[in-house]
C-alpha cells in the first residue's frame, strides 16, 4: 500500500506542475490539431473512405503527440537536478515508474478526448455513438504506449540526440499494441467481426500487462545513477 501512496504523491507533483504551466498539454493539443490538417492536405480523404482511414490517422496523431510528451517526461527533473533528490528519497523506484506512466497516460488521454471529436467534426465522420467503445480501445492502446514509452524515455535520458533516438527504438517495439488498437478500432467502425475484435483486445491487454510488469521490475536499473 505504501507504494500506491508514493505513486499518488509523485503523480500529484507532476499534475500540479502541469496545472500551473499547462505547457505539455497545450503544445500536444495544438500539435495534434496541426497533424489533422496535414492529414487533410496529404490525403484529401473521400467521404466513403473516412471511416476506414480514421483509426490509422488517429493513431498516427496519438503516437506523434505522445512522443512529444515522452521526450519531456523526465526533462524537468533532469534540468533541476530534482531526479537526484528523488532518487535519494527512501521510496520504491517502481513508484516513480508508475507515477510517470500514469501522468503520461493522463495527459495523452486528455489530448485524445479532444482529438476524437475534433476528427469527427473536421472530417464529417459520424462517430458519436461509437465514441465510448473507441475510447475504450484508445485507453488500452495508450496505456501500452505509455508503459513502454516511459521506460524508454528514462532509458534515453542521458543519450545524445535523445529526441531522435526515442521514437527510433520505441516505434518498432510498439507494433503489437498500435496494430491491435488500429485493427480493433477499424472493427468498431464496421470492418470485421466481433471475434476478431476480442482477439485484438486480448493482444492489447497482454501487451499492457507484460510490459507494465517488466517496466516496473526493471526501472530500478534504468533510473539509478
Amino acid at each position: 500500500m505504501n507504494i500506491l501512496r508514493q505513486t499518488y504523491w509523485l503523480l500529484w507533483k507532476d499534475v500540479l506542475l502541469e496545472i500551473r504551466r499547462r505547457e505539455s498539454l497545450l503544445s500536444m493539443f495544438f500539435f495534434g490539431t496541426i497533424l489533422l490538417f496535414l492529414f487533410h492536405f496529404s490525403f484529401e480523404i473521400p467521404r466513403d473512405k473516412t471511416a476506414a482511414m480514421a483509426p490509422g490517422l488517429l493513431w498516427l496523431a496519438f503516437i506523434f503527440t505522445g512522443t512529444l510528451a515522452l521526450t519531456q517526461l523526465f526533462q524537468d527533473e533532469k534540468e533541476s537536478q530534482c531526479l537526484d533528490a528523488l532518487l535519494l528519497c527512501p521510496m520504491d523506484r517502481g513508484a516513480l515508474y508508475l507515477a510517470k506512466v500514469l501522468f503520461n497516460f493522463l495527459i495523452m488521454m486528455l489530448v485524445e478526448l479532444v482529438i476524437f471529436p475534433l476528427f469527427g467534426i473536421l472530417f464529417n465522420l459520424d462517430l458519436w455513438n461509437l465514441l465510448p467503445s473507441l475510447f475504450g480501445v484508445a485507453l488500452l492502446g495508450t496505456l501500452g504506449f505509455c508503459v513502454l514509452g516511459t521506460l524508454f524515455s528514462a532509458l534515453t535520458l542521458r543519450a545524445r540526440a535523445k529526441e531522435l533516438l526515442l521514437p527510433l527504438i520505441l516505434f518498432p517495439l510498439m507494433i503489437p499494441s498500435i496494430l491491435g488498437a488500429i485493427r480493433a478500432m477499424q472493427i468498431i467502425f464496421g470492418a470485421g467481426n466481433s471475434e476478431e475484435l476480442f482477439q485484438w483486445i486480448r493482444m492489447l491487454i497482454v501487451f499492457d500487462v507484460i510490459f507494465m510488469t517488466v517496466g516496473f521490475l526493471i526501472f530500478e536499473w534504468v533510473i539509478e545513477e
Binding site: R160, A161, P172, I175, L179, Q199, W221, V222
Partner: protein
C-alpha cells in the same frame, strides 16, 4: 590474423579453419552438387544461404537476451560485451537474410516487377532488423559506459520479449486480410524438402553456426582488448 592473440587465439584459429572448410563445402554442395529444384529451378539455391542465416540470427538475438539478463543480474562487463557483440553479428545476418529473401522471392512468389511484399515473415524479419539497429544506435549514442550497458541490456530484454507478440500481431494482420502467399501454409518450408536438399542445407547451417561463433569470439576479443585499454588509460598511469 591477430598475432598477439594468446591462449584462446589458438582455438579461434582452429575454429577459423573449420569455418573455412565448411563454407567451401557448403558453397560446393549448394551451388554445384545439389540437384536443381524441379519447380523453382536454380533460384532455390538461395535457400542454402537464406535459412541458415536467419536461424543463426535468431541464435544471435537469443544470446543478446541471455547476455542482457546476466549483465543486469551480475553486472559483469563481460556479459555486456557478449550482448553487444551478438547484436552486431545478428544485425549483419538479418540484413543479409532480407536481401537473399528479396532476391529469392522476386523470382518465385512476389508479383512480377515487385521488390517487396508485406508478407508476414518478411515484415517480421524487417522489424527485427529495425529493433536491433535501434539497439546498436542506442549503444553508440550513450557515452557513459555503465549507463550504455544498462540501457542496452534493458532494450535487449524488452526487444526479445516483444518478438513473440510482434510475430502474432503481424501474422494475424496478414492472414486475416490478405490472400495467403506460398510461405504462409501451415507446413514449415523445410518439411517439403527431400534429403537431396537437406544435406546441403545442413552443411550450410553448420557453416553459419561455426562462422557465427568465430565472429563472436573475434568480436569478444576486440571488446576485451578495448576494455584493457580503457583500464590502462584510467588507472595505468596513476
Amino acid at each position: 590474423m591477430p598475432t598477439s592473440a594468446k591462449g584462446t587465439g589458438k582455438t579461434r584459429k582452429v575454429l577459423g579453419a573449420l569455418v573455412f572448410i565448411f563454407v567451401l563445402l557448403g558453397l560446393y554442395w549448394g551451388l554445384l552438387h545439389a540437384p536443381t529444384h524441379p519447380v523453382q529451378l536454380d533460384i532455390q539455391r538461395i535457400m542454402y544461404l537464406h535459412i541458415p542465416s536467419i536461424l543463426t540470427a535468431y541464435l544471435a538475438f537469443f544470446i543478446v537476451f541471455v547476455g542482457s539478463c546476466l549483465y543486469l543480474w551480475k553486472g559483469e562487463r563481460r556479459d555486456d560485451i557478449l550482448a553487444n557483440s551478438a547484436a552486431e553479428i545478428g544485425v549483419l545476418l538479418t540484413a543479409v537474410t532480407i536481401i537473399t529473401g528479396i532476391l529469392w522471392g522476386k523470382k518465385t512468389w512476389f508479383s512480377p516487377g515487385d521488390w517487396w511484399t508485406w508478407d508476414a515473415r518478411l515484415t517480421l524479419t524487417a522489424l527485427l532488423l529495425l529493433i536491433f539497429v535501434g539497439y546498436l544506435m542506442l549503444r553508440a549514442l550513450i557515452e557513459d559506459e555503465r549507463r550504455g550497458a544498462v540501457c542496452g541490456a534493458v532494450l535487449g530484454i524488452i526487444g526479445f520479449l516483444d518478438i513473440p507478440l510482434i510475430h502474432m500481431a503481424v501474422h494475424w494482420f496478414q492472414t486475416l486480410h490478405q490472400a495467403p502467399s506460398i510461405l504462409q501454409t501451415e507446413k514449415a518450408p523445410w518439411e517439403n524438402i527431400p534429403p537431396d536438399w537437406l544435406v546441403p542445407l545442413s552443411i550450410n547451417f553448420i557453416a553459419f553456426i561455426l562462422l557465427f561463433f568465430y565472429l563472436l569470439s573475434l568480436r569478444l576479443h576486440v571488446g576485451e582488448i578495448e576494455e584493457e585499454i580503457k583500464k590502462l588509460k584510467l588507472y595505468g598511469r596513476a
